[in-house]
Chain length 215, copies 3
């Protein structure tokens, strides 16, 4: 029963926020694909090239977030609560930051041989971003609430898997990696990856709160 | 002079939010007790068992937070500002995350002999969560503002002590611990513990801001 | 077209929030100057003394933030949106926390010889805080929007430079520093410094969002 629900019959079909959110969602998929490809590649030059592309997409994402904020400032009536638009934009931005952070650390730390756990984490990040983009796409008409809820459940499940892989990989590092500098490198890359899936879960939480208010 | 104050005479005694916040508060005490017990135990099996129970309670806390968000979506009138309900729920959730984080790191890193500083930190975390739970309990009728303020002052004082112990322990690690991997282990466990008391201070800040608006 | 814009002709010239924000801004400059001076000094006693002064100013900053929150609770009409006042106060507080964090780590870790990259980072932090303070000063009458926008652009540019220096310095640490404990020390000091410039960028983002709504 928010202000937006009261006004909902007068709100013209939003053509400002949804297209931007959809761009942000598909940008995340692009980033996640590049990261995955990079981790499975055995060519360091390829990896450097992908890291640069991921950086460009992260800037693209920043611009999308910025445009969402500009629209928020210009529009009194929004398709759902202002605070939720803000929270959704921020959480999508956070996902991009951590995908970029993972790629960047691999470059900076010159990680020559990504571990199996890292590769699996990029599979999960891609899976999570696909569900994020799907849920955002469905958001524009709330007819398919079930689909959005489904995507949120799947994001949570992916995040749980990522948690498990991260914990296991870190435990193994502390058990078997005797070179402290290598341990730091691997732990920090894995940590950025796990944060990326955490932030996908934040997106799911925001989406669920939007559903509760507007359904 | 918030919307809620204007409406306050019409607001029926809240039976939705306060019970959930009280559950969240007492859940934190349970977690802090398990962590303290775990650190003082010399039996690694006991420690593993407590870590599992802490993980279960962390999930329980997640569910409480989730229910608070659902209630926020369903209720137009809330006992205090929506943004404060949201902030209070989030900060309580953060405390749980870091207590769990500390227990989890001890397990993952196989910390065999917790340091004296770690033990003292768990005393402080328990003390802080007890004040948090007490303040939340008093929140439901604002007659005892003095008690809430007292608890907040005590939380701040506990956090200052935790800061001091953390800083001293980390300085000693850098001075005496020559094994870098051990240094990382101890520093990160202490850091999660210190973050837990920081987040208790965030709870106190939210409580104070609720008092200012509604008193 | 916020509530505040509607009321703007009735809002008496704010004498509560702007002076506090200005104090917060100039406090950041003082902290940044002490940090810079400390890093360029070759006298460890001087460095310890500056670290103590930075800690005092961080407490001073906490008090200013606290007063802003108290004013928020007491005043129904604010010079710009409540959420933006809250966000501006928080982001200024975060800058102070990380400047203090950098100084504190140098002390705790007994960093005897600050690196060239650290020195350059303190130049950038000072530059960023000067632009932050300038933009806040202009905020009180929105005649000089151009000046505020200029400062925000400069803050973003400083943050980009800090990113570049940080990335380069960390890559070099992983390439040349064979002592893992030294690597941790240097990396964490640099990281707190980089976070300080990041948080200045957050301030710029809040300022831009205030401009968009009120201009």
């Amino acid at each position: 029963m928010s202000l937006n629900s009261i006004f909902q019959y007068f709100v013209p079909k939003d053509k400002k926020f949804f297209p931007l959110f959809e761009q942000a969602g598909s940008n995340l998929i692009d980033m996640a694909k590049l990261l995955q490809e990079s981790l499975y590649s055995t060519d360091p030059a390829k990896r450097t090239q992908n890291a640069k592309q991921i950086e460009d997409l992260e800037h693209k994402g920043d611009n999308i977030t910025h445009q969402i904020h500009l629209e928020l400032g210009k529009n009194f009536i929004t398709p759902f609560d202002r605070e939720d638009i803000h929270a959704l934009a921020s959480s999508l931005d956070d996902v991009a930051d951590f995908i970029h952070g993972a790629a960047n650390r691999i470059e900076l730390y010159k990680v020559a041989n990504p571990s199996q756990a890292m590769k699996e984490m990029t599979d999960l990040i891609l899976e999570a971003t696909e569900h994020v983009a799907k849920a955002i796409f469905e958001l524009k008409d709330l007819k398919n609430i079930r689909n959005i809820t489904d995507s949120c459940v799947r994001i949570n499940s992916v995040e749980n898997k990522a948690d498990y892989i991260f914990d296991k990989a870190v435990a193994e590092l502390f058990e078997y990696e005797k070179d402290a500098i290598n341990l730091i490198k691997f732990k920090e890359v894995l940590s950025a990856m796990e944060d990326a899936t955490d932030k996908c879960e934040d997106v799911a939480n925001v989406l669920e709160s939007i559903l509760v208010k507007n359904a």
